[in-house]
Symmetry: C2
Subunit: 251 residues, 2 copies
């Protein structure tokens, strides 16, 4: 089994190396990941400049390539050009930070798995729901292993990926896996306005992540309650519920 591992925190991050370690129990792992932090890049592609692929070593062993691009670039360039054979699965993560609810649409981690799915390859994103840089990755790595080991046998429909989020809690408090829907938490944005030494303003994005609707079986709620969430996502964005109404309105 060939497993492509990528992420959006960059090839040097702790999360991706915990994931590589876990995935080696399943097969041959190749790492193709951004050469630097790419959080909140969404599903960005590099189109106006060329990409570079630099062989990347860890502990004296070449484990893959570092790319000067986004997570989606890594998957596209990796599968189409760098890898000699197509991977059997693509696992993205372990992200430092939750990708539940609306975070999924800003997430480079999720976009890499979406890109894999677009190529017809079973794909999964894994995130640990804390921004604590020193957080213990072992539970998330174990969850990643458990879900990835079953990914091919799930026989997901074309175009569907798994978005897995793991709570940042001690193992003894962990309750297990739950299949969930994307939650309805959102960011209430604020910009911190500061003045530079010349008196001109600049704006830092900040804000609070708040639960808008407490849906049963929503990923955000389930993770807050000590479960790891598995949400099947797809990139079919049409709101079919209003298609007929809208047709009547424009008839």
């Amino acid at each position: 089994m060939r497993i492509l591992v990528t992420n959006d925190d960059g090839i040097e991050s702790r999360g991706i190396h915990a994931l590589v370690h876990a995935m080696r129990r399943l097969g041959d792992v190749i790492v193709i990941a951004p050469d630097r932090q790419q959080s909140a890049v969404g599903h960005a592609l590099t189109v106006a400049s060329p990409l570079r692929a630099t062989p990347f070593s860890r502990d004296g062993e070449v484990i893959g390539w570092a790319i000067n691009g986004t997570p989606a670039d890594c998957v596209k360039l990796g599968v189409s050009t760098l890898m000699e054979q197509r991977p059997d699965m693509i696992i993205s993560g372990i992200n430092h930070g939750s990708n539940t609810s609306v975070n999924a649409i800003y997430s480079g981690t999720v976009s890499a798995a979406t890109e894999g799915t677009l190529m017809g390859i079973p794909s999964m994103a894994v995130s640990l729901a804390t921004f604590d840089e020193s957080a213990d990755m072992s539970l998330a790595a174990e969850v990643a292993y458990e879900v990835a080991s079953r990914l091919l046998s799930l026989d997901l429909p074309l175009g569907t990926l798994l978005n897995v989020n793991v709570p940042p809690i001690p193992r003894e408090d962990y309750k297990g896996l739950r299949v969930t829907r994307q939650g309805h938490s959102e960011w209430k944005d604020r910009y911190d306005v500061r003045l530079d030494p010349h008196g001109k303003p600049y704006y830092w994005l900040t804000g609070d992540f708040v639960t808008v609707t407490e849906l049963e079986d929503a990923d955000d709620i389930v993770v807050a309650n000590g479960w790891a969430s598995i949400t099947p996502l797809h990139y079919e964005l049409t709101n079919f519920n209003i298609l007929e109404t809208l047709r009547d309105q424009f008839a």
Copy 2:
């Protein structure tokens, strides 16, 4: 009526000025757009550096702000901080290039409208389906006006935006508006591998946009046949069709 106009091609682009001109027939227009080309940025946010907002003039008149960020940044910063009052609608475009089918997930133009929708503001993306930089924008501007003038009365559900694509054809060949679903065309990626003067490879993204499934009423097909497409999109990404199956598999 206050209308926020943005785009991803940058505040200097021809498309945004055609859109501003059209929207002024409907109300007061404020432009808050990226200071440079931001195509294929997806739903990226700027989180690791601060934003700047520079007043932007055209024909001697201040029409808004240029932002050193992405389309989603422009909407977040604009609505939360720069605008004194909340806009009644957000119109993004006119994009130089189609945002039908899978393009919607890579599109900064669509992401700006999605961001508006997340804030509860009726929002719409408009694209002209050609990369020809000198293409005639007048039909797309007229379609933008026609749909925007009806946007508030459509009473779209919370979380749904309109993604409008206009064919690059003479007015006499234009067939009218059609409500559509997101099509199933995809990019077959190729990377053009070149060697730099030092003999090291670099990779340019290229590829072909191909129709995978000819769905009836798909935006890509409808636009190719001379209609302007209106696709209602939402950011509910859960694949509800497989939720129960997946629950059984993980039970």
